[in-house]
Symmetry: C2
Subunit: 191 residues, 2 copies
């Protein structure tokens, strides 16, 4: 584990401790729940993919998994439907103050999002710079154009400022990312 910019380990520990239960994944799950109960959109997080090796069938109703391994996910974490459109995205946090390292996302997840876009769906990533308290949505087409034109292995924060869309944090919903899709408007719905 690297601690960029000479920030002390202890500081990061305290920081991440106080944020426990307030992280990006929780914010998105809460937001998706808000969308669901208010009948705005149906978007769910996929379960963590695992390979099950051993199961103990204690009783007819209660099976206990005794050995399993985490698998590399073949798709993104979130998908669903909004205004009749297929929605697909991945969400990541970074502690960096300056850029988002692309190795945070598996290559086949980016390929998956590209595919979704080609098939007429809406694909994007949500990236939170935890130390800056800033969360951006970047559409897959803008991520692709970065990767096609840059040799860099991380996306500098100004790229998010210029081509991404900041998502303001609120109380309810906590992270109204679908608003960004509304704002994109006509352009988005034409394909």
């Amino acid at each position: 584990m690297k601690y960029p910019n000479g920030i002390k380990k202890q500081y990061i520990n305290i920081k991440s401790h106080s944020n426990r239960g307030m992280n990006l994944e929780n914010d998105i799950n809460d937001t998706n729940n808000y969308y669901l109960v208010n009948d705005i959109a149906i978007i769910h997080k996929k379960p963590t993919p695992i390979t099950i090796n051993k199961v103990d069938y204690k009783s007819r109703v209660d099976a206990v998994i005794k050995e399993a391994h985490f698998k590399i996910p073949s798709t993104t974490d979130y998908n669903g439907i909004y205004k009749g459109k297929y929605i697909d995205f991945e969400a990541k946090e970074t502690k960096s103050l300056t850029s988002f390292p692309l190795n945070n996302i598996h290559k086949h997840q980016i390929d998956h999002l590209k595919n979704i876009y080609r098939h007429g769906g809406i694909g994007f990533i949500i990236v939170r710079f935890t130390k800056l308290n800033k969360t951006y949505l970047l559409f897959i087409e803008d991520l692709i154009s970065f990767m096609d034109t840059s040799e860099r292995v991380s996306i500098p924060i100004n790229y998010f400022e210029d081509y991404g869309h900041i998502i303001k944090e609120g109380l309810n919903p906590r992270l109204d990312y679908l608003k960004i899709l509304d704002n994109k408007g006509v352009e988005l719905w034409k394909n």
Copy 2:
């Protein structure tokens, strides 16, 4: 476990044994893979939802789950995109010769499919009568109209014949269920 129609237990065991690796889930996964590599549609099975209780972090790369439990899924097993449309379905086998018991599908999965339909997606169930070697696709709107008009706790096979769509088995793809969506044509794409 019930053995309907007086069929002996041994028979069922042999039968299900010889069919191992050829079941509905495998057929659908193979078909989805065919759709994916031929760039026809992007449809994936969601991982089995579990609650993880204990993880053994042997090393940095290899974590082993030591205790976990199966959770009731909050959505259906399959979703994705086809021709720009959001697709969502559940697949079930039954050994019955006469009807499909509705308790094979969780009520909230049916509610989920209803929701998808209301939001402009395409929802359906795929049901295989294993002893008859017949596999049907039934759109959620037709499943709802059955449930709204009948008190029965199982759907008789003639309802599938009249309102469902038989999916012919092939070699590659094994179970071309998207063809049914094509055949439905205009009606399907208008919403």
